[in-house]
């Protein structure tokens, strides 16, 4: 039977305040708590609760990861979300691990990577009493080396993007093996984006997308597993409730069953044996058109800010330093191509990449002073 693997990412960064040069040295807090709390509450109500309820009601198997940064906030302020997630994991949902701070540490520091992964695993053990077997790195950033590093931490399965340059040789609808002997899952970006990007777009020629049609596409797509990886916020936040996204989700299992397609977690999908080994040297990710690191580290501002952050690795206040590592901060500074830029702007709480850079740099300057003391 063909498996469909849903993977949903739950993450909200600790966004930074409008931090001015004139604020440096005056003890102003770095984090925009009001905004962050407001967004977490909104997304909990619109997405996390109703989407998880839909998964439970529809008995839909899926794998979820919650970034440590978000999870600690949910524990603090939204027990109801934590509870419904617990219920879902009890009923067969899988919990995956990532780097606690949703950071880019995998590309520059094996020690930091190990630390942040273990932090993430520890928090998940505390909250859900689960030890994840599946690893998904920040924004699906991946290469062989990240495979080795995560294998060392004990993960059997790893998820990443299926960009054109890989899927031109390897059909993403199979399980593969990486050089670290993990099961490697490649995202089917076309079928994933049909839901996460195109679902409510009236100018799309397949609009409106109903569950029966989509289930037919799933059954017709050749292979063993179809990997649909997306932000959990797709349900109810990026695609509004009014678009019918929850009805779509609820109707999907039945339509799939009719066509001999089942929903499984990542771990369950390993019943399909790897068909071959894939080695990937250059970094890939699921972000932007180039599907590499350019969403975070392409332009001079991003690189400058990133180097600044790295230079403070000896700071005693490690916790603050790690919050400043969250990839979203660099994502907001991106000035990508026109279409990608629309997505960056959608997420950017300041509206301008220049502002994102300026606030980050001012905070860094303040933080550098603090680190000296």
């Amino acid at each position: 039977m063909k498996s469909v693997v849903f993977f949903f990412e739950l993450h909200q960064p600790r966004r930074l305040r409008e931090y001015r040069s004139l604020d440096i040295g005056k003890g102003k807090g770095y984090f925009w708590d009001e905004k962050n709390n407001e967004i977490i509450n909104r997304v909990s109500d619109r997405c996390y609760i109703p989407a998880t309820q839909s998964l439970i009601d529809g008995n839909i198997k899926a794998t979820l990861s919650v970034s440590g940064v978000l999870l600690e906030n949910l524990v603090r302020m939204r027990e109801d979300v934590v509870d419904i997630l617990k219920e879902y994991f009890r009923k067969g949902g899988e919990l995956a691990a990532e780097t606690y701070y949703h950071s880019l540490c995998s590309i520059w520091s094996p020690e930091e990577f190990s630390f942040q992964v273990n932090e993430d695993v520890r928090l998940k053990k505390d909250v859900f009493n689960i030890k994840p077997k599946t690893f998904r790195n920040t924004e699906m950033i991946y290469n062989d080396n990240i495979g080795f590093m995560s294998a060392k931490e004990g993960f059997k399965n790893i998820l990443t993007e299926g960009p054109d340059r890989i899927i031109s040789k390897f059909n993403p609808n199979y399980v593969y093996r990486n050089p670290a002997s993990q099961n490697l899952f490649l995202r089917n970006y076309r079928l994933s984006d049909d839901i996460s990007f195109r679902f409510s777009n009236p100018s799309w020629n397949e609009y409106p997308l109903y569950a029966d049609k989509y289930a037919r596409w799933l059954s017709e797509s050749p292979g063993d597993v179809i990997n649909l990886f997306m932000d959990y916020e797709t349900f109810g936040e990026h695609q509004w409730k009014e678009s019918g996204i929850f009805e779509f989700l609820k109707a999907l299992p039945e339509e799939a069953r009719k066509r001999d397609v089942e929903f499984t977690t990542v771990s369950e999908a390993t019943k399909h044996s790897p068909v071959s080994e894939i080695s990937i040297q250059d970094y890939i990710s699921w972000a932007d058109y180039p599907r590499d690191l350019s969403a975070w580290l392409l332009n001079d501002m991003q690189r400058d800010a990133f180097e600044d952050m790295k230079s403070l690795s000896k700071c005693k206040d490690k916790r603050t330093w790690r919050y400043l590592q969250t990839s979203d901060h660099f994502y907001y500074m991106s000035m990508a191509g026109v279409q990608d830029q629309e997505v960056h702007t959608y997420f950017n709480p300041y509206g301008s990449p220049y502002d994102a850079y300026i606030f980050y740099k001012n905070i860094m300057e303040d933080f550098r002073e603090k680190c000296k003391s």
Binding site: D300, S352, Y354, Y357
Partner: protein, 367 residues
């Protein structure tokens, strides 16, 4: 189609941006349509232009921005003279700013031809919304009301026209100015720190010089090594110098006086950042000029061209905390200077007189 254009000045004999606009726009339009331009006769006008020019002789020396009373008198005289010397062989009358609106309205009535008016600035802008002159507002109001179509240089100005004169929005077309392509042939900017912060333009309440001084004071609380360059003259210059002295900032200020066009490009390029804290600026040609040389800009939200730009930093003209912060960021962070500069240069190139001419002819054809 023949267009009668009522202008005020023409390079090389001119005092301001209206002349630059006129020659660039109508040189292009005259390739497609016949243009007859009316201007006050002035020493320095060329013997030949790419379009027909009718010089109106209103005693020499009047056609510049002198004392306000004399200036108003010359405007009245000029408008009267146009109507007596007008050749009625045209299809559309196109008047520019209140200084030609009277003649425009009168000619429309005399000839029955449609009237297009371009609003480059309103009395609301020029007065910095402080004590606008009623008689000028009346002329503006009448010209805009009698016009068949109104051209505004930005959505910002369109909104002012709509709010101050109650004009129906559907009558107003927004057409941005262009930047002369010759500016781009200048050499590439070097982004090494010059620590120079530039104010460029007339020193009048409209342009917000006092907010520049306030921002400078705040910048100096963080860095002492910055030079604030004030390029331009105007009725607020003495007051500006006084407040610089009051705050003990003489060593950090440089006043250049009036700057010629060719020297202006060097001044832009030699600065780390150009600041335009205008209280109300319909368009803001200097913003595009600065960007064309690769110099980053900080501008007020009440600067029209800003609405069409993404590679500028914008704040309220009164928010000198934020203005100072943006200036400091550009001074302190080279990657910011360089990205804003390089991307801004490309962005400014999108503003061409060709585009402005095509849209203007579209307005003529819509009548």
């Amino acid at each position: 189609m023949k267009i009668a254009v009522l202008g005020w000045e023409l390079p090389p004999a001119f005092a301001g941006g209206l002349g630059i606009h006129t020659i660039n726009l109508f040189t292009i339009i005259s390739k497609i349509m016949e243009v007859n331009l009316y201007v006050p006769d002035a020493p320095g006008l060329l013997s030949k232009y790419p379009f027909q020019v009718t010089r109106i002789n209103i005693s020499p020396g009047d056609s510049n921005y002198g004392k306000s009373n004399d200036f108003y008198e010359s405007v009245v005289k000029y408008n009267d003279l146009i109507t007596t010397q007008f050749k009625n062989d045209i299809s559309i009358i196109h008047a520019h700013d209140w200084i030609t609106f009277r003649a425009g309205v009168k000619l429309k009535k005399m000839t029955g031809r449609p009237l297009v008016v371009t609003v480059h600035s309103t009395e609301y802008d020029r007065s910095g919304n402080f004590n606008p002159q009623r008689r000028i507002m009346d002329i503006e109001e009448e010209g805009i009301r009698e016009a068949d179509r109104v051209i505004a240089v930005s959505n910002y100005t369109k909104k002012i026209i709509h709010e101050v004169y109650g004009t129906d929005n559907s009558k107003i077309e927004v057409i941005y100015n262009g930047v002369s392509s010759s500016i781009y042939s200048n050499m590439e900017k070097n982004y090494d720190n010059t620590k120079r912060v530039l104010y460029f333009g007339r020193v009048t309440p409209q342009k917000g010089p006092k907010f520049f001084v306030e921002a400078a004071r705040k910048v100096l609380t963080r860095r002492k090594d910055v030079i604030f360059v004030v390029a331009g003259t105007g009725d607020q210059l003495d007051e500006m110098k006084n407040s610089v002295r009051t705050f003990g900032m003489e060593n950090n200020f440089e006043f250049t006086g009036f700057v010629s066009e060719s020297y202006s490009l060097k001044i832009y390029r030699d600065s780390d950042v150009f600041v335009l804290p205008a209280v109300s600026e319909p368009f803001g040609m200097t913003v595009l000029e600065s960007m064309s040389t690769g110099t980053p800009t900080v501008i007020s939200k009440t600067t029209g061209v800003g609405e069409a730009l993404s590679n500028v930093l914008r704040c309220d003209f009164w928010d000198t905390d934020k203005m100072a912060d943006y200036i400091l960021a550009i001074l302190n962070f080279r990657p910011l200077r360089e990205m804003m500069g390089k991307r801004g240069r490309i962005e400014a190139m999108n503003f061409t007189w060709d585009k402005a001419a095509i849209k203007t002819m579209g307005v003529y054809n819509s009548i």
